[in-house]
Every structure is written in structure tokens, then in C-alpha cells.
């Protein structure tokens, strides 16, 4: 198939960017979207031009490194799929595809399509973990957890932290990401111990990173490659409300 690609090019963070148009022939419909970009980059390198910077790692939909906004949708048109798992068979021959980086003040563009998503890492560092003493892990079955609760926690834990929720949100809110991390730990006995401190610290960090506020638009859920539900946001709001009014933290 033959494609016209309109791709955002920006040499570095503080330099103005613009769209460049490329045409690419002989694209196999079996290629993944990233493989298509690899082919384009090989072509650009061969022509002594600077290849396009984009992020990728596992290429099997589990690491959350790939991003891109394809024709206005984070991770492209296919629901519940990361860009690396999106194949060219989902596009038409002769189609023009617009490829942009995630847009959010909290995600500055580093180069071309690559953005700095460190803000999400700092939210995790603020509380997205459990503190455990080192030593031998006890038998997992020794802690009784109801199946439904375990499933809910697992669903929240499938968040790969790719930031598509922030990219899709008209307010650039990171509530879906933060709530998935809060929910996955708050639902389990191991996470309940620090639940109050965790939600207060993570929300505080989220606010410091200049993300927007949630307006319950639900674009995050619609674009999330893992289908994380906005019901997690309600859960986080409950956790935050109760922690604000009853935690041992005087502030």
C-alpha cells in the first residue's frame, strides 16, 4: 500500500516544530505501525536525512513506551491496542495519516514524536508502591483475597503507564493513570496498610506536575489501550476524601 504521512518534526524541546509530509510506497499491510515508521526512517537515513524520533521498546503491548497520536487518537484508531500492536491493515491504501506527539504541558516534546513522560514516574515515586521488609516472601495463598477484588485490582494493574489518558484528555488530566495505580494497591491487603498516605502523596504530586483537572469526559477510558475504567477515578476520589479527613497527617 501507498501512504502519505504528515509527521510532526521538532529538532528539540525549545525549537519550534512543524509538520513534514512524506510519502511511502510498498507498505505491507502486515507491518506494525512502528515497523512502517522503521521503514520510513531507513529511507530517510538512506537519503542522508535525519530519521524521525519516536519511542518504542517491547513492541508487544506491555511496556507502555510507544505513544503517538495517530489521526487524532492516542495509539491510533484500534480500540484497546498500543501503537506497536496496531497493524497497517487498519489503514487504507492511499490514505493520509497524521502523526503527532502527545500534547500536554506536563509532557514536553523532546524531539519529533518523543515526549518526556517523567511526570508519571514521579507520581509513582510519590506513593505507587508498597513498603515491605526484605526477607522470604510468604505463601501467596496465605492472604485471603476475594476473586472479584483480585480481578478488580488486576484490571487496574494492567495500566502500562503509557500516558494515552493524558494525551486524550482535553484537560490533560492524569487522573485515570493515578487512579489506576491508587486502586490497584488500595484494593489489596498489602496495599491497604499505606493507602491513606499513598493517595494523598500521589494526588499531591499529580497536582504539582501541572496536569489538568478531571471533567469526567471519559476520553481517557475510550483511548486507554488497556481499557482502564473511569470507575477507578471515583474510587480514588473516595480514597482521597477519606484520607484528607481522617489520615494521621496534620497537613
Amino acid at each position: 500500500m501507498k501512504l502519505t504521512l504528515k509527521i510532526w518534526r521538532q529538532p528539540s524541546q525549545n525549537v519550534k516544530g512543524k509538520f513534514e509530509t512524506y510519502s511511502l510506497d510498498n507498505v505491507s499491510e502486515h507491518m506494525s505501525f512502528l515497523e512502517m515508521l522503521d521503514v520510513l526512517n531507513e529511507k530517510l537515513s538512506f537519503e542522508q536525512k535525519v530519521p524521525i524520533a519516536f519511542e518504542h521498546d517491547c513492541r508487544e503491548g506491555i511496556c507502555g513506551t510507544c505513544s503517538l497520536v495517530i489521526n487524532g487518537q492516542p495509539h491510533g484508531p484500534l480500540q484497546g491496542t498500543t501503537t506497536c500492536q496496531l497493524h497497517m491493515r487498519n489503514f487504507k491504501d492511499g490514505e493520509t495519516i497524521v502523526i503527532e506527539p502527545y500534547r500536554a504541558s506536563a509532557f514536553p516534546v523532546l524531539k519529533d514524536l518523543s515526549v518526556d513522560r517523567g511526570a508519571l514516574d514521579r507520581i509513582i515515586q510519590a506513593g505507587g508502591f508498597i513498603s515491605v521488609s526484605t526477607g522470604q516472601a510468604q505463601d501467596a495463598n496465605a492472604i485471603p483475597i476475594e476473586k472479584d477484588v483480585a480481578s478488580h485490582a488486576f484490571d487496574a494493574a494492567t495500566c502500562i503507564g503509557c500516558g494515552a489518558c493524558v494525551a486524550a484528555c482535553p484537560n490533560s488530566s492524569a487522573m485515570l493513570f493515578t487512579s489506576a495505580k491508587v486502586a490497584h494497591l488500595a484494593l489489596l491487603p498489602q496495599g491497604k496498610v499505606e493507602a491513606q498516605k499513598r493517595v494523598l502523596n500521589m494526588v499531591r504530586q499529580m497536582d504539582l506536575e501541572n496536569f489538568g483537572n478531571c471533567s469526567n469526559i471519559t476520553a481517557c477510558e475510550a483511548e486507554c489501550p488497556k481499557g482502564i475504567s473511569v470507575s477507578n477515578i471515583a474510587l480514588m476520589n473516595r480514597e482521597f476524601l477519606s484520607a484528607s479527613f481522617s489520615s494521621n497527617d496534620a497537613n
Binding site: 500536554a104 489538568g212 474510587l235
Partner: protein, 245 residues
Amino acid sequence: MSWMTNALKPIGLVWFANFLTSSIGKKLLMSLSGLFLILFLPVHLIGNLQLLTKDAGVSFNLYSYFMTHNPLIKTVSYLLYFSIILHTIQGLLLWRKNKMAKGKIGYAVSALRGDGTNVKAAANMAWLGIIIFVFIAVHMYQFWLQMKLGKVPMVIIEGTEYKNLYEPVVLAFSNPGFVLFYVVSMIIIGIHLNHGFQSSFQTLGLNHKKYTPFIKYIGRVYAFIVPFGFAIIPIIVYGRNNLWW
């Protein structure tokens, strides 16, 4: 909003200031003030329906006298003014913050999708809200302020003199331009409420498999019935003035 932290520090409520100025706290204020306004609207509507009674405005004028003289209603009305101002200012502040969070460069292609709500309404609550605020300002100037400042003709009902608010209201509703403005404003309010109703519950954390589908359903019904009730009144009054029915 460090002024709030400074104000609440001497009374030992730093945590409360931190809560109110957090992203979730700000949304909580939007939610609670919005829900209060949602509770108020049907009460206002019941009063307005008195306009339709064919008694030359007697029941409407008695109702408006009651609303401006009952001490409980007067107390609640201050909470209402406060809610309108809080919802407006907080909404504008959040809107500005969200715009800054999105950054200067938007997407060249926009393909907004959502699930379980009116996404276009949800993404444009601020614009809808601004139109509603303009409507409320015009509305308060035209009826509420005139009633308060007494530039209203008087009428005698059963030997007692009352302000005849019925007369300026019916006069306003005889202007087709105003009727159109009123009806369009009600449609905008309906769209705003269609998202706002269920959104306020979600913000409060009230999301549950058993109740959320029902809340969403009731929200849609409410967002249709209440603005429809308001909008039908000027249409009926206009029709009566023009002897359509």
C-alpha cells in the same frame, strides 16, 4: 491558592486548605455547588408553573411574595447566590488551569471519543456555563432585581397589596426575541445538566455498579424534563398573548 492556606493556618485547618486547593477538592466544590443548584431548579420550576394558572397572576404573585418573605427561604437563597458565584468562579479557574495544562499547541486532527456521557457537552462545560451565566445575569436583572428594588407595579389581592411581578414577566414573555433567548438558554442548561448531573456523582466518588446506571438514567431524564418545563412556560404565555390558544 496559598491565601486559603494562610487564612486557615491560624485555626489549625491547613489540611482542609490543602484539601480544598487540591485538584480533587476543587472538583468536589464544583460537584457540591452543582448538586445544590440541581436541587434548586425543580423548586424554581414549581413556582414558575404558577404563571400558567388562569387567575390573572394571583397565585404567581402570592408565590413570589412567599419566596421573598419566608425567613427559611431567604436563608437558603443566600446559599443559592453563594453556590452560583462559587460554581462560576471555580469553574472559570479550573477552565484556565485545564487550558494551561493542555498547552499552546493542540492536535492538528481532533477525534474526541468517550464512553457513557455526552462527550461534546463534557468537553465544553465551561462554554455552556458562560452562556448560562449570561442568562442568569439577564434573568436576575430583569426579574429578581426589579422585585428586590421594588420597581414593580402593585396589585391588591383579597384586600392586601402585593408586588405584581406577574405583569413584567408576562410583558417580557410577549417579546418573541426574549422568548427565543429564554428557550435557547434552557436548551443550553439541559446540555450542561446532561453531563453535570452524573458527573457530580462521579466526582464525589459515588460510582457503583448497582447505582451508576440509574444515576445516569435519572440525570438524562432530569436534564430533559426540568429545562423543558421552564422553556414551555414562555411559549404558552406568548401563545396566550397572541390568542393562539
